[in-house]
Amino acid sequence: MLFILCALTAEAKPLISALSLRKDNTSCPYDTYFAEDNSVVLAISGMGTVAAASATTYLLTRFGTKKEQDHLINFGSCAGKDPGMYLINKITDDISGREYYPDMLYDLSSAGLSFSSEKALTTVNHVVSSLEDPDQLYEMEASGIFQAGSHFLPPHRMLFLKYVSDSGVEDPKSITNAHLTACAEQQLSTVLLILGKLKNISEEIPSIDEDLFLSASYALHLSETLRHELYQLFVYARSENIDIEKILDGLKKEGRIPAPSKREGKEVLHAIRERLI
């Protein structure tokens, strides 16, 4: 699942529309939008690191079921020197001074984000009036999202996409919702390409036949420790493409499964190991 966090509805509007996301009308702590096939969920966190961290935790706690397929994307506006959209490779929290590093593993050049589109970002607690370091981007949520997201996801499945809406303003109210939406709209095609790419990435963990494992461990009267050993034999068999069911069937035909006692069960476990290796 792709989890998208935006601080403001104005930033999220083009995405909500392009992905045909529907608002969850049940009682949610944050405005939450879904894709019909549940492949995307987007939440509006509000401004600031606390709100962003809290919304991240809400999203990943409530919906994060298949961790090997989940990606967290923070899409939003920032202050910067040059217009455009940037992939963030370093986040500095201005208050704590701590630095955070999302992994930069994926080649997103086909989506329009080359290495030159990478930048470092500083998360501050106010709208900046000027750029202290013109090579940096400034915004108000990323460090909170990274810190909260790190409790759930590895650093290569957190992406920070920031578009420049201004180069610092004296009056925050001068940045209108319409302006934020218009800037987001300009980056929409790139964001959609990236989301499409991320959707296809899965780190599926191969699983064993749990039913077969449970029935075998009951039939052998295994203790907790020996159940772990049997489980490891199942995992090894899967990794070697050995049909463990065939081995178990053979032992059934020999009358050794089910085992009459714990002692015989342990011997059968030994026999399974012998036949596997």
Partner: protein, 342 residues
């Protein structure tokens, strides 16, 4: 594991540079070589290397390079699971963490949370640390345990510097272990009888299945042979021996290929040892590499070290030992005594 040539950035596309290491000449030389890479300044290398929940396997698909300064110790006593070759003062040095090769069973995957490579650029500080140790007693030092130094020689030049350092310190003997095909190091430097090049030798099928990105068996044999011809002491490490259904055929073919292409009498020595790994490391390997048979094998836990069941372990080691005894004198065959491993 996701795959695909167009999915990942190329290796070292991103280089993290610790502020304390940024002015070091080696840092500057490496950065000049990777002028197209993205350079990301970091306060401390651990901020990147020790992040929680990193995926070692995925990171190996697009390894980042971290250039840092080692502030603590970089020379450590050799682990009991490692062969000391009869030396009294056995140590290993860690000047680079992680490797460009990608062996399924590598202990580094169990030891480190990150698949990225850390190069400690201040090798001269390691030399100073070592000189203090050498003032106390002779030292036998393995310098290529936490990485493959020869494979990274064109990046760091560390192997050459270690050789020169050893040449001028008569109480130091070093071992440089490798699975690389590179031979150019032997043309660049004069041999020293206290610099041992140790080639890990595995059967073709094991290399193809479990030792990704490493040199082929023929390439390793050719490199070892070349080193001997140039006058360097060479050790062959049949360690780790990896179990497979047809291990007897695989290992006898390998020994045949080795003996046909290497003058075994010229070897300094050989070592034999079946795969073994501390329990903490295998748990992490099993979690991170669920599809790897060598990680998932039902090993026995003997005093905190996971190893093959006695029958398999003794069978493989004895068989290999018997083959080698026909080729090299017994006193030059070293076996790890797994019963002595705590």
């Amino acid at each position: 594991m996701p795959s695909g040539n167009d999915l990942f950035n190329h290796p070292f596309s991103h280089i993290y540079v610790e502020k304390a290491a940024s002015d070091h000449p080696l840092t500057q030389a490496i950065l000049a070589r990777f002028s197209k890479s993205v350079i990301i300044p970091v306060g401390h290398y651990k901020d990147v290397f020790n992040r929680p929940r990193q995926n070692f396997g995925i990171q190996k698909q697009s390894q980042a390079l971290i250039l840092a300064k080692n502030r603590g110790a970089s020379i450590f006593p050799g682990a009991p699971v490692c062969q000391d070759f009869g030396y009294d003062h056995f140590y290993y040095a860690s000047s680079i963490r992680n490797c460009i090769f990608d062996c399924d069973y590598c202990f580094l995957k169990g030891m480190y949370g990150s698949g990225n490579i850390v190069v400690f650029v201040n090798l001269e500080d390691t030399f100073s640390e070592l000189e203090k140790l050498l003032a106390e007693h002779p030292v036998y030092l393995c310098i290529s345990y936490d990485t493959d130094l020869i494979a990274l020689e064109s990046l760091t030049g560390f192997t050459s510097r270690w050789i020169e350092f050893t040449r001028t310190h008569k109480d130091l003997t070093i071992e440089i272990r490798t699975k690389s095909f590179r031979k150019d190091i032997y043309d660049k430097t004069e041999p020293c009888d206290r610099v041992i090049f140790a080639y890990t030798i595995s059967p073709r099928s094991i290399i193809e299945r479990y030792e990704s990105k490493t040199a082929t068996l023929s390439e390793r044999i050719a490199a070892a042979s070349y080193a001997m011809a140039k006058g360097f002491p060479v050790r062959l490490c049949f360690d780790p021996i990896i179990y497979c259904k047809d291990w007897k055929d695989a290992y006898s073919s390998m020994i045949q290929e080795v003996s046909e292409n290497i003058d075994m009498h010229q070897l300094k020595d050989v070592s034999i040892g079946s795969f073994r790994i501390p329990s903490d490391y295998i748990h992490k390997l099993r979690r991170d590499f669920p599809s790897s048979p060598v990680c998932q094998f039902p090993y026995e836990n003997i005093n905190g070290v996971f190893q093959y069941p006695e029958k398999i372990r003794a069978g493989m080691e004895d068989y290999l030992g018997s083959l080698l005894q026909n080729l090299i004198s017994k006193d030059r065959i070293y076996k790890i005594d797994t019963n002595q491993v705590p």
